[in-house]
Symmetry: C3
């Protein structure tokens, strides 16, 4: 596949030797000056090619070990020397192993020359490896006298060629040899990536699983949304379809594909939105009770704090669908038929005007609040885009996500209350003794709003601000620690 | 808070000494080779920790000065040497002061050893400092024999750990000592940031206020939008509610929450959209009259040019709300009641058909134009996202923002004209002698469109193009300056 | 124009000499140590100024050659030495030529001193140059004894000052002298850009045309969309307007501005969406038939694969407009008049209820599916934003674009089928023997869905997976190539 402008024959032979090489000019590490800054690559696939180009561009000398050096001659940049695997291993002190795991064993004959050299395992798996040996550990077991570093597997061939992007700049590394690890970290930096140290080689499985991760932060929010959806859909089905069918003998099953969805989605959206603001309130209460911010929150609370963005976005998605469904209501045939039938009834009744002032005001108000809430939520959603949130400073991000978010919750609550009107207190809206759906959704948001108001009381607010500046209650720590400079816990929401 | 993969024990001791250090190998600056590339950090908070990790990753030696070295031993990477503050000051020629301003005085006893060293003030304030002394100047006054550099305060602990993102790559620096400033600029570059020189230490207050800025470019557009909103809401209220109430004795107050909003929002949106294109036209006329592009525009025009993007986005937001409000009109109870009442009237009148061909065509046309205008505006809004506009070249960006934007203005004008139809010339649409609202909104856009047409006339167009290529009228400059290469003034809109 | 915080007087004179300089300390290239890491700039415009600042920030020594050194003294950073062009040429071995092409000839007198030096042509044109000589080649013809490198023209003055962004990080370079090219590549890297080698100077025209490109990937999709739009609009016009007018003598011309658009847009959107998934299926069949993934696809298929994202986004845009048009249907006067007239008819007929159960169900179902399809498409559109897709790993991106995209196609098909109901088999929906429009749109999507199902059959699926892991059928390649590591062809969609 073509992947953009070709980088095929950049003659870099005259370029700088790598930074790293120069820095170790006087030392006698295993990758001493004898290696001449030469990096080896075993393998001739896409990744090997892109890696060679990228290394050459950054001033490294590159030798490529191939089983068929002649056959692959054309596909590598001219400055990369193609040779047999044996020769490449001899020439380089550090080698990228760009082979599939199943072909590692083909290198066995090279165990001798590979001894005391650094092997970088860049391989990925096809499927998530939950408990087996990692590829890197397997490689290390094959070559016990070599030093294996796991890394670069999260980087694509494309990112190597076109330069790292914001999103995939990090290169996670692990190895049992700290020197080898920091050596490879230096190479990653020279190539423009941000190395992240993940410790010993036992982390390799975790690193190998990263490119196979499928939206891990979205699982809980989606399951949550699905659960809420099923509950509210069933609840509404009983109230709006089953009750008329059983009690009034009316066939309202046509409501299932659209109207029931439309009264279920706002419930899901509203409850999810309130769940975004629960963990922040809980965290504040924890800090107030403990009198310090230096103790960890319980694991579940940490996880909840980390999933707020995703929960909020699912809430916004449901709100958008609710808006579309609501706006489509009057164009349906059923609405048309009901309207005509009402007009006919009106004519038969002889009454000229069907106007009910209260119903008119109720609907004008709740529709208007609903649109405002959607407008505020859409601002929150836009500022969740990585490129937008990156361009905000911390105060701006907090203002939008916290103040504007609570504003959206408040307007949503007004939307719900205006929609509900006096129905919560009117017995005829209780079907099978089940209260109107909107009353159920109000529980969490009301609690959040009350708790937020409580936290704004001067005594609580002042104390919380002091705690977040690093102040600790004597009982929780023996000494004052004036020289800590920490960010408030909300900062974790910037991730 | 967990903020991503932990970077805890990266053993970088064998790594390169910093770039900067090597380059000064032969020089005898105040941070000469005796310092051994060692950077000191005073403080043990989150920021200090992240800074230590980041410096180690980039190959610096790091010593951390703590008041309780033993207590803080566990929380720093193993390669960062923890010691007393006195020792740290002795070991490093350059020290980051990662303390809150109120604890600066605790360092006073170290004034002697700190003399002739570089202190980097990274502190932020809680509130905007409009006229007091900056933290950095306060630090400089405490240690008159040290050199203070302000900087890194715009960087978060999180950005230090995870690598700088597009949006927060810049590190603003200032100092009274240019050598110290460029030295710290070198460190910033080594860490992957883009240093920006802000001159002498008197700029420190400005730099300290940056992280406290709250969407500065949005204030004027939002105030403008609010002002327009209030004016048009009131105007529409008088025409659509007060006039029927006073003159025809009809109660139309139910229109306030929704219908009045819906006829006010498009006015705000349309006027704001036209205001986006006013400054470009004014700038062109300025350049034509002065015969050069090398003279500055008046300050207000520069500011206006810089706020175009925000004004345009507020306009788009209002247009979206207008669309939602319009689409919600037929689902309201009031619409239903009026429809039924019309049907009943029709039956009583005995007429079979209420069809008015002119009204049908008017509405089909203006609704269609309205949707087209919203579609064009949404394209403009999407290309305003940082990640999208970054991926466009200058010509593409100009084409979309200028050509497509004017297209949107034109289609909006057609939407308005089709909506207005012949009402501007029909006396019965004048309430209290107030003309229909749409006529007011047409003033600015019509002027813009005419001015744009005038600028397309060959004589004006050719002259303007020459001016923007660097040509100057003799009277305004004594000499021709053929070797200037400048971008057209629109380029400032790419910011 | 102001373009952000000014970088005016950063004193970097004490900074490191450029990386490149140090590396060549011992070599005797044309830019040997005698040049002292000094870079020259000829020209004093915006670009020259920004370039000077940027070079100084990265540790280069900068001399600026001006025809009026005194006049331009104030506008350059203090560390950049301003001098006559002659002097600048003498001082630097490498010079950026920041002049317009029409002023190149003014340098002729410097041909002697310029000999054996590197000239970097950074110029751009006003218009696309389709077959003439490139600026760089013209410069090379003027100075046959100098080495010309084309580059940096894609970078804006603003990007030089504020640091490169994700989108414009690449600097395309070409030259007939590989050493000069790699030397300039080193400078580009020092400034934070990603150099891309484009080969010999004959590529200069191509490089010069890049900043003049106007959305090249959008042309084919937009022309395609326009063609489909015109076809379906005409088809619908004949069926919905012309047929009633000629046969039933009914005037339905009022449908042209809105209703016809509304039934045309979904056809365009649906066909475009299916065209996104055609090339992937074709590529799979090609690979299956050839038994390898190492042979190139035909050019047209490659191009089609590269345009999928744009085709999909045009499809989404049409779907959004369709949603807006559909939702606006009931608020039109025509809808109101038809409804009232229906009500009157109903009253006259004496029937109390107009309810048609089948029509109700049909509409509830297709509206609901339509909203779901739009929801899925909007997820695809959001993940097409550069900043969002950059934050996904390859598996996540593939999952969303492939699985979710096919899901959207499937739901759209259900929307179409429910809309069509039994009309394809009912003669009275055939106007002038033309079948209902929806039947035409179903052809391609149905074929895609069937082909996808076929590819999921175990025999085809297993073989395809093996081919994409690098397996080759013996007949197509003499030897097995186990050590290739390539990405699946879908990876090209990540561009």
């Amino acid at each position: 596949m073509q992947t953009g402008p070709g980088i095929t024959d950049m003659p870099e032979s005259d370029m700088a030797r790598p930074l790293l090489e120069r820095d170790h000019g006087g030392s006698v590490g295993p990758w001493g000056p004898s290696s001449g800054g030469t990096v080896g690559i075993l393998g001739t696939g896409d990744f090997a090619r892109s890696l060679a180009t990228c290394l050459l561009c950054s001033g490294f000398k590159v030798v490529v070990g191939s089983r068929n050096p002649k056959r692959n001659a054309g596909i590598f940049p001219a400055e990369a020397e193609l040779m047999s695997q044996e020769e490449a291993v001899k020439r380089a002190e550090l080698l990228f192993v760009a082979l599939y795991k199943e072909h590692y064993c083909t290198l066995r004959s090279l165990a001798g020359p590979l001894a005391h050299k650094i092997l970088i395992d860049v391989s990925n798996n096809q499927e998530v490896n939950t408990k087996g040996e990692s590829n890197a550990e397997y490689l290390a077991s094959l070559f016990p006298h070599s030093t294996v570093v796991k890394g670069f597997n999260v980087v694509s061939a494309w990112a190597l060629q076109s330069g790292p992007k914001d999103g995939n700049k990090q290169v996670l590394l692990c190895s049992n040899c700290p020197e080898a690890r920091s050596h490879v970290a230096g190479i990653a930096r020279s190539l423009g990536f941000t190395p992240v140290d993940m410790g010993s080689l036992s982390s390799a499985r975790e690193i190998e699983n990263i490119p196979l991760r499928l939206l891990p932060f979205w699982k809980v929010p989606l399951v949550l949304a699905l659960g809420l959806f099923l509950f509210f859909y069933l609840y509404n089905f009983v109230r709006a379809v089953l009750h008329p069918y059983l009690i009034e003998n009316q066939n309202k099953f046509y409501k299932m594909p659209l109207e029931l969805l439309n009264i279920t989605l706002p419930c899901v959206s509203y409850v999810l939105l309130s769940l975004v603001y629960v963990p922040g309130v809980l965290a504040a209460f924890y800090q107030l009770r403990r009198g310090t911010k230096y103790r960890r929150f319980p694991h579940w609370l940490d996880q909840w704090l980390l999933h707020r963005k995703q929960i909020g976005l699912v809430s916004f998605f449901c709100a958008c669908l609710h808006a579309l469904y609501s706006l489509s209501l009057p164009m349906r045939r059923s609405a048309r038929y009901l309207l005509i039938s009402d007009a006919v009834k009106q004519v038969k009744a002889g009454a000229g005007d069907a106007w009910v002032e209260e119903q008119v005001w109720r609907m004008e108000i709740y529709v208007s609040f609903g649109i405002m809430a959607l407008g505020l939520l859409s601002l929150l959603a836009v500022t969740s885009l990585p490129s937008v949130s990156n361009s905000l400073n911390w105060r701006e991000f907090t203002f939008i996500q916290s103040q504007l978010g609570l504003g959206a919750l408040l307007v949503s609550t007004l939307h719900t209350l205006a929609f509900g009107w006096n129905r919560a207190f009117d017995g005829k809206f209780y079907k099978f003794c089940l209260p109107p759906t909107f009353t159920l959704t109000l529980v969490v948001p009301s609690a959040i709003i009350l708790a937020r108001v409580a936290l704004l009381l001067p005594c609580a607010h002042r104390r919380l601000m002091r705690i977040r500046r690093g102040w600790e209650r004597r009982s929780s720590a023996q000494i004052m620690t004036p020289n800590r400079m920490e960010e408030a816990p909300e900062s974790s929401s910037t991730l």
